[in-house]
């Protein structure tokens, strides 16, 4: 019982990280209809930015250091997202579907190898930033515990998602983004700067992925240049599972993927946990291609 509770807590934490990355996929897919293949690697770069910030702030108190790292990662990941959009995707706005995908794969490979070259190929461990926790349940000498790090991750994620949701629902910028999402040409005719809306989607998505990188670093304490690939696919799975284009869906999908992964590792064979996540993706797409919270769209002729 307490073992299952522990898996539940771990799964929710992991799910929050996947959910944050998934929101970025959803934002970009919703507005330009392309899978931002390099998104997982933006998450990885975000983790490295956080690593640098956390080490640089090691003299500060823990909350201050984390706040600095959060701000630093948020800003620079956003800049990275903007730079990628401007360099690799903007020139391809109106071209055939394959070209942006190839460009995105190129960005992904380039980012991975850039980090490997500049920061080294070895895994980067740090001492736990946040220690301690609350014991939830003890049974048969097994303690189910929620650590302060997990509480921090869940709280910060929920706050950030709330802010993003507000941005998209209530502000002019969000309205413009939703308009471009629905009909780009019409929105442009009505005086909305479609290019700006697209840039904002990329920047915002990348900033969120960067924050997810910080969460990953705080939670696992070790990162390397290759973490983006698997995390990226799983987050995409989460986005599709929840219904791509919907922010709540992305978070829900992230939670489900996180839970499946931890329970699979806890009760089954940990070596095959990635297989479990991908199998779920295939099943969902077969049975409910529009995702859990997505709406089926009619095909236009």
């Amino acid at each position: 019982m307490s073992y299952a509770l522990q898996q539940l807590v771990n799964g929710i934490t992991l799910g929050m990280v996947y959910g944050l990355i998934a929101v970025g996929y959803s934002l970009v897919y919703g507005i330009v209809g392309m899978i931002n293949f390099a998104h997982g690697d933006v998450f990885m770069v975000g983790a490295f930015l956080s690593l640098i910030a956390v080490i640089a702030c090691s003299g500060f108190s823990v909350p201050l250091a984390l706040a600095c790292a959060l701000l630093f990662t948020l800003l620079l990941s956003g800049v990275l997202g903007y730079a990628i959009e401007r360099f690799a995707y903007r020139p391809l706005n109106r071209s055939h579907r394959l070209a942006p995908l190839i460009s995105a794969i190129g960005v992904s490979i380039a980012l991975q190898n850039f980090i490997e070259l500049s920061q080294g190929a070895r895994a980067k461990p740090i001492a736990p930033v946040i220690t301690g926790g609350i014991t939830l349940l003890t049974k048969n000498s097994f303690q189910a515990e929620i650590s302060w790090a997990q509480i921090a991750i869940i709280t910060v994620t929920l706050i950030i998602l709330g802010v993003v949701s507000f941005l998209i629902r209530q502000t002019d910028l969000g309205r413009a983004m939703r308009a471009v999402e629905q009909d780009r040409l019409m929105a442009s005719l009505l005086g909305i700067d479609a290019q700006r809306a697209i840039s904002v989607a990329f920047t915002l998505g990348a900033a969120l992925a960067g924050v997810a990188g910080l969460m990953f670093l705080v939670y696992y304490g070790v990162i390397d240049f290759f973490i983006g690939f698997t995390a990226g696919i799983k987050a995409f799975t989460a986005a599709v599972l929840g219904g791509i284009g919907s922010i709540e869906g992305a978070v829900l999908g992230g939670l489900i993927i996180g839970l499946i992964e931890t329970f699979w590792s806890g009760y089954g064979n940990a070596a095959f946990k990635d297989v479990a996540a991908f199998s779920v993706l295939i099943l969902v797409l077969m049975l409910r291609p529009q995702g859990l919270l997505g709406q089926r769209t009619a095909e236009k002729v």
Binding site: Y82, A83, A99, T237, D274
Partner: protein, 403 residues
């Protein structure tokens, strides 16, 4: 809303654009490249500063971007004889450059085989497959297991490897081919990873990360090219030994296989199946309205593509004499897909040249091994941006009505 006046001075615009890129590069490289996390004696990470790096990167970005805007758009001239030149180049390569050329040529041919198979799926049927390497892996492992565990010869295992991969393609195709383009891409990507993870973890069958060794080389009419083996062609036919004989035999074999695969695909695309694929690629809805069955057609493309990947995998396993999951990572899929797309998705001639240019280029920068993948990634972006329709050829329907 403020509407900025169109920039009339192109030189000024180019400077501003290059400046923006340099600034972005500088801001990003300031921490990512200028500060390196390095472990000290107690294995705790410390920050080491390389202040000159971000400046150097920003300056080079500025220079390259500026130069980029000044260079007129490159057009690769396509002569009607380009195909013949490509074939001549591949045939003559080993004679021009010796042993190293043979190795590069073999690599080009292996990728060309793969790309020709993937071309059916991506170029002709218009399905985005990011897990193509999975079928390559199935072919390679089928060959490895059949020859080392079940006592098959290479030539007996070869067609079975193709059929095994085709079966895998068929089975994966049934559930996923109803999906729309991008979803299909991700599912196939996931499938590629599943196959790799299974190969890595199914210790009893695949020997995990250590792979399978001792795959026999393909024989020529029962002879092999070892120096002292029981069927050595040199001993039995009393020929002088040459270390080059085996690579040349492999090269001939690869050339023959590639030619075969190419001829098969050329015949296919001119036939009813190929025409139906191209109709599907151009407009699925219209194709369906005309009575074509999209699911069946896609399944056929997927299965045939997988079949050719399986054959290429069998050849790869026999040439290496060794397979391990390491050879079947996503970057292989990306490379093959890049060849297909850069070749102009659908054009076999373009793919031939794209394979030569990309694999050859890849080998040329082998001396800068650590920068190789970085250059490859950036080159993909630059090529995609500069020539979104493909580097070399432009896609054209295989059959057209003459009025």
């Amino acid at each position: 809303m403020r509407v900025s006046p169109p920039d009339t001075n192109p030189r000024k615009a180019a400077f501003r654009d290059a400046g923006a890129f340099a600034l972005l590069a500088f801001v990003l490289c300031l921490p990512l490249s200028g500060i390196v996390t390095t472990p000290d004696e107690e294995y705790r990470l410390r920050l080491v500063f390389h202040a000159w790096r971000p400046f150097a990167i920003a300056l080079s970005v500025f220079a390259i971007r500026l130069a980029w805007s000044r260079v007129p758009r490159i057009r690769v001239p396509i002569s009607p004889n380009a195909g013949r030149w490509g074939i001549a180049f591949i045939c003559l390569l080993p004679f021009l450059t010796g042993r190293r050329g043979l190795d590069i040529g073999l690599l080009i041919l292996t990728y060309l085989m793969l790309a020709t198979g993937l071309n059916i799926v991506v170029g002709l049927a218009g399905l985005l497959d990011l897990g193509y390497v999975a079928f390559y892996a199935v072919g390679a492992y089928a060959t490895a297991l059949l020859t080392t565990q079940a006592g098959f010869t290479f030539w007996a295992a070869f067609p079975l490897a193709g059929l095994g991969a085709a079966l895998a393609g068929f089975l994966l195709g049934i559930p996923v081919l109803r999906l729309r383009g991008d979803y299909l891409a991700i599912v196939t990507l996931g499938f590629g990873e599943i196959v790799r993870v299974v190969l890595l973890n199914w210790q009893t069958l695949t020997n995990g990360a250590n792979g399978i060794i001792g795959i026999p080389y393909p024989t020529l009419l029962g002879f092999d090219f070892s120096r002292f083996g029981s069927h050595s062609i040199f001993r039995d036919l009393h020929l002088p030994y040459s270390a080059l004989a085996r690579p040349i035999w492999f090269y001939t074999l690869a050339l023959a296989l590639t030619a075969l695969v190419n001829i098969a695909v050329s015949r296919l695309r001119k036939g009813p199946l190929g025409r139906a694929w191209e109709a599907l690629r151009e407009d699925e809805l219209a194709a369906r309205s005309l009575g074509l069955n999209p699911t069946r057609l896609k399944l056929a493309a997927f299965t045939l593509g997988a079949f050719f990947a399986g054959l290429a995998g069998a050849f790869f396993a026999a040439r290496q004499g060794f397979v391990s999951p390491e050879s079947f990572t996503f970057s292989e899929s990306a490379l093959v897909l890049a060849i297909v797309v850069m070749g102009g998705a659908g054009s076999q001639l373009g793919i031939c040249w794209a394979a030569i240019v990309m694999i050859g280029g890849f080998e040329l920068v082998r001396d800068f091994a650590q920068y190789r993948m970085l250059i490859f990634g950036l080159a993909l972006v630059v090529i995609a941006v500069a020539r979104p329709g493909g580097l070399i050829a432009i896609r054209q329907p295989s059959v057209r009505l003459n009025s």
